[in-house]
Structure formats: C-alpha cells, structure tokens
Symmetry: C2
C-alpha cells in the first residue's frame, strides 16, 4: 500500500520535471520571434531542424501555455507565449471557410489543406483556453467557430479528401467521439451546459457501448455504424495508447458526475488493454496491434512512443486515486519505471519521443511533425495534481 | 575476380529459389478460386489472414505470371493464373471513367478510390504483359487506356485527393518519371516507337538531371519543378531502395541504347547510395533517410525491407555484368550475404518482407497490403538471367 510520503515525493518529481526541465525547453527554443507561432522540430538539445508549422502542434502548444496560465499560475511570460501562437494562428491558420489547415510554412502560408477535422479540434481546445486566459473575445469566437465546424463535419471528418468508396464498408472511428468528449469538457465554460451535457452523454455511450468490445474488454479503433466488428486491417486494429487515453477522459467525466460504476468500468478497460498491449519480452506498450494477432499494417507497430506511456501514467494514477484498486498501483509502478527510464532525458530538457521495441532511442529529437509541447507537459501536470490531491485525501 | 563457375552456381541458386520455393508458394496459396483475383495477405506458411484485394498487388501478380509465361516458359498453368487475375481486374478494377481503384473487397466491390496514378501504372504493366501472353485484344485495350490515363494525370497524380495547397511549395516526385521510364520499356511492343522513345528521353533526362544531385551523387525523392532542393521533410528525403531501383531501370534503357556513359553514371549513383544508406552497425540498407542527417518523419526509417535489398542485388549484378567494375562485385557479395540470410525462409516458400534494424523478422508474413508476388520473383528472375548471360560472356 502506498503512503502519503510516496505520493508527496511523486508530486514533487512531476512538478520539478514540468517546471524545471520541460517548460524551459519550449520557452527557450520553440518561440518564433520573427514570424510568430512556434517551432516544433527541435533536436535533442533544442536546435531547430525544420521550420514548417504543423497546426495540431501549434494549437497544442497554445493550449498548454494557456492551460498552465489558467490552472497553475498567472505567469505573464506564459500568456505572452500563448499570444505569440494565438496571433499567428488567428491570422494564418484557417481557410476562407474557417476550416483549419494541416500545415503552414514558417511565414504562415498554407502547405497542406484542411483535410480532416482534427486540426479544428485542437484549435477549439487551444482558443478556448486562450480566451479564458486572455479574455480576448476574438479568441472566444474562434473557439466556438472551430467547435461548430467539428459538429458539422463529424460524420464525414475528411470530407472531399476521403479516399473511402462510399457504401462498401461503412465504418466509424473512435477518435471522433473521444475527442468530442474531451472537447466538450474543455469548453464547458463556453457552451450552454445542456448542450455540452447532451454531447457528453452521447459520446460516452458511443465509446463505452460501440467501441468497447464486451468479450475481450478491449477498445477497438474502428467498428461499423451499428457497432459490429469488421474483419479487415482497420477493423482488427487496437491502439493501446489511444484506448487508454480515452479511458482517462471517461474517468474525468465520470468523476465530475460522480458515476462510480463508469469509473470502475474505465479502469477495467485500462487494465485489459495493458494486459494485452504490454511487451512481455522488452517491456513497454506496443503502438499498434491486431486483435487477432495477425501482422498489423503499421510497420511501426512494436515501437514504444512517449505519449502512449505518459497517457497511461495519467490513466493509472487517476484510476488509483479514484478507486484505490491495487492493480492500478502495481501497473503504475511498472509503467512509471519504464517511462522515466526510456523517455526522460537527464542531460537536456523535454523527453524523447520514439524508442524502438527494445527501448533504444529511434529518433534523436524532442519535437517533430507529430511531437510538440503537449503530451509531456500535460501528463506531468496531471500526474502532479493527482498525486497532490491523493496525498491530501489518504 | 569472379569466374564462370561462380556465376553458374549463382544462376542455379536464383533459378532454384524462383522455381522451387517462391512460385509454388503463390501458385498454391494465393489463388482465389471463388471470386477470382489473388489473396496477397498470406502468413509465413501461406494461410490467408485477410481477403481484401489491393490493386497494386493484384496487377503485380498478374504481371509476374504473364512475364514468366512470355519470357521464361509458356506453361499453361501460369497463363491460367494470369487469366484468373486479369478477368477479375477487368471486371472490377476500374471506376466508370477507367481509373483504377486502390482496393477492393474479396468479391470485387470498391473500397478505396483511385486516389493516385500508381494503380494505373501497375495495371498498364500487367495488362500489357498479359495481352502479349494471351493475345487478348481487350487486355491490350485496357493496357493502353491505363497508359494514357497516366500520361494525362502525370502532372497531378493525386488529382482531387491531393492535400497539397497549390502554389506555396511546388514539388515534383521521382516516382513519376521513374515509373514512366520503366513502363515505356515494358510497353514498347504496344506503343509507336517514336512516342515511346520521346518519353524515354524525357524521363531519363529528368531522373539524371533533376533528381540526381550533382554534389552528393545521391538521388532525391522530391525537388522543385525547376530541380532545386527544398529544405523540408519531403525535400530532404532519400529512399535508398527507390533510388537504386531507378538506377537499374536507367541501366536497362542505357544498355538497349548502348550508352556506356549513362550505364557508368547509373552505377556511380548506386555505389553512392549504398555508401550513404548502408547501416554500418547492423548491416543492411536503411528504408528512409534525411540527407542532412535530421530525424526523418517515417518511423520505419531504419527497418530493412525485402524489396530494397532485392532491387539492389539486381542493380549490382546488372552493373557488374555491364561494366565489370570491381566495386559492384564487392558490394554484390556484401548485399547478397545480408539479403539471403535475413529475407529467405529456409522452412517455407516466399521470403520475409520486413526486418527491424537488427535484421530480426518484424512482421511474420509473406504477403500483405504492400508485399505480394512481385519483387521477390522479379529480382530472382533478373539475377538468374544476368548471371546466365554473364557466364556466357566471360
């Protein structure tokens, strides 16, 4: 059994890592003072190796600094960093119909079209937090516009860029209800509460009824619109990190609604996914798996990614704090040891992102096209807070 | 120095592997006798694990059996296997405008739209060989229709499915001239020779002037329309296997035209790419590299793929036969040893496709979404033929 002292030490560990090793890295190296926005392609030591601006990561960094300003401390520096991204994004991020591009060049000219709704999702999250931090009315309007875009486009997230031939094999994907659930929580201060509640009810039900498989207890990535399984690459796909991240979103919602059964069900799923997705030979959690054990189409399937492990730590500490279930703590310790050993960088700021199956660094970077200032600081912040809250209560 | 005996043994090795280990695997396990077409998702022992039909691979298998019928031996069985694919593809493979889909389900219903021209490229190759084998006039018409599709769509290969925002960063890609060069050779019996020659001249010049970098001697995957380099992920990308494959296409063309300078230039490029792309720690050729040594965006960058190594063997044995350059033979021996050790399967037919950086099997399959009956038999056939021709001449 865990004691307060251990919680207290863990809270300190996460706090120190966030405030002294991770945030300074982004504060120092990622700010583009010439054009606005952020550099995300940073090597191990923080040197910029590519200046393209990927909208997911631009918005995620804006979210991170705004969130910390809102929830942790009103540091003027953080608001300035947020403003540096928000101004750039408000000016360059959207097409004439208000859809968010996928990528811009350094100066803000569009490179990649708004080919799905995830750029809009991260824009809604980011501008909602920034509106709260800055009191800026334009930011508020941008957040609501993006949120409405997503609702409008949710049934056809890729629009005209979809390569799927209609009708042969209808399929829906976990990412859509999962992100809508998280977004509706994030934006509840901006939305009418009955509207946000209706969306939360619907998305929680969809995740836990349609994508959760009753037999295996695993979260599927793709099912038919009627929640049937599909025997094809997409239909057999399990993304352990994604399923586990979805489960802490669900725990967060269930906790606010004081729904103990739902919390316990989400914890069950986390544990099932870990039993299925843990690499028993080398440790760590696989990136992609085929539920039937067939070869997945993703060549990177057995790699160990930072976000998978960090989201798992969040889910486990949250699950343990909310339920006290011993299995959560057993798994927490195992995943903690693996994650801090392989992803933290004792020599430079921020964490490594990509390890091979054996846990050796695969890409010697701290940021790139898909890794920015988001999963590491968010998870460190959430773990720290959970340990502090847990400490008070035990 | 290599002697005739060694050439003769190598010819036998490749011949035996092709005829006794590789073709029987596809003959036995890949034929869909219920719906027509081929299964490509086959596990190590040949069991079908997925029944979707990917058009690249359907057409490539049709090409392989037709080519062997045309060039090696008029085995009735091979023509029947070809016909089983050709009939299925002619009926189900194209949309109403004659564009080739990317994927169908087992019964032939479209799953993935014709989102670029590569399906059409493999259809043109396949139906051209099949028309030659069968004398079928419809097959001939289908080949020409696909070829004309490609010429029409070559400047915008992805059409309306392109996610690139027009104008910000114009870029052209090596795959287009490379495949046009190969295709025009493949189809020369069907095309008017002045037309095919003009296309060959243009594509060879484009590959060797625009994509070949004079300074490093490396083949770039993407450049501006004016052949300038671009400092972005795509612009820094080197795909060693792709560049080397392009070079044996060029040697093949140069040999028919008796252009010794061009052959030697292509050999130089193969050697440059090998020096750059060989993994000095674990052996084998990397899949993707950044020319500046930055982290590539492809997480599978350091994996070792079957086709990369097989195309390299073809290029090296062809380069050695045509030039007698000792460096080709040194490299041939090194790549031969690696390739036969890691990809050949002494216990079952066909070869493994995907190894990790250390050369351990990453996906325990013989066929999948991208690996079918093509690179292994084509390379085995070409190496065998090169060794036999070399033997006679030395």
């Amino acid at each position: 059994m865990i004691n307060n002292m251990e919680f207290s030490n863990l809270a300190k560990l996460y706090k120190n890592e966030l405030l002294n090793n991770v945030l300074p890295f982004w504060e120092q190296y990622s700010i583009d003072r010439s054009y606005g926005g952020y550099f995300s392609c940073l090597d191990r030591e923080g040197k910029v190796y590519d200046t393209d601006k990927f909208i997911w990561l631009q918005n995620r960094q804006l979210w991170t600094f705004s969130m910390l300003y809102n929830r942790l401390e009103t540091r003027e520096k953080w608001l300035q960093i947020a403003k540096n991204g928000a101004d750039f994004l408000a000016e360059h991020g959207r097409d004439s119909e208000g859809n968010w591009y996928f990528a811009l060049n350094r100066a803000g000219k569009p490179l990649v079209q708004p080919y799905n709704i995830f750029s809009d999702c991260f824009a809604a999250m980011a501008f909602s937090q920034y509106a709260l931090a800055s009191g800026d009315n334009e930011a508020r309007a941008i957040a609501l516009q993006a949120y409405n875009n997503i609702l409008r486009r949710q049934d056809n997230p890729k629009g005209k860029y979809s390569k799927v031939y209609p009708g042969t094999r209808p399929m829906k994907t976990l990412a859509v209800p999962m992100i809508l659930a998280n977004l509706s929580l994030e934006m509840d201060w901006l939305l009418q509460s009955d509207r946000a509640n209706a969306i939360l009810d619907r998305t929680v039900a969809e995740v836990m009824e349609d994508f959760l498989d009753a037999e295996t207890g695993l979260m599927y990535e793709n099912v038919t619109p009627e929640a049937e399984h599909l025997d094809c690459f997409e239909g057999r796909l399990i993304n352990p990190g994604h399923g586990i991240e979805a489960m802490w979103f669900i725990m967060d919602i269930a906790n606010r609604r004081n729904n103990r059964d739902l919390i316990n069900q989400a914890v069950d799923v986390v544990l099932n996914i870990l039993n299925f997705g843990w690499d028993k030979e080398y440790g760590g959690i696989y990136y992609f798996m085929d539920v039937k054990g067939y070869p997945p189409q993703q060549l990177e399937w057995n790699q160990k990614l930072w976000w998978v492990h960090l989201e798992t730590l969040v889910a486990l500490v949250m699950g343990y704090r909310l339920t006290g279930r011993e299995e959560c703590w057993q798994w927490y310790q195992k995943v903690h040891e693996y994650t801090w050993k392989h992803f933290a960088d004792p020599n430079y700021g921020e964490w490594f992102g990509y390890c091979d199956r054996r846990g050796e660094v695969l890409l010697n970077l701290k940021g790139g096209k898909w890794k920015g200032c988001f999963h590491v600081p968010r998870a460190l912040y959430l773990c720290w807070q959970q340990f502090e809250e847990g400490e008070g209560k035990r």
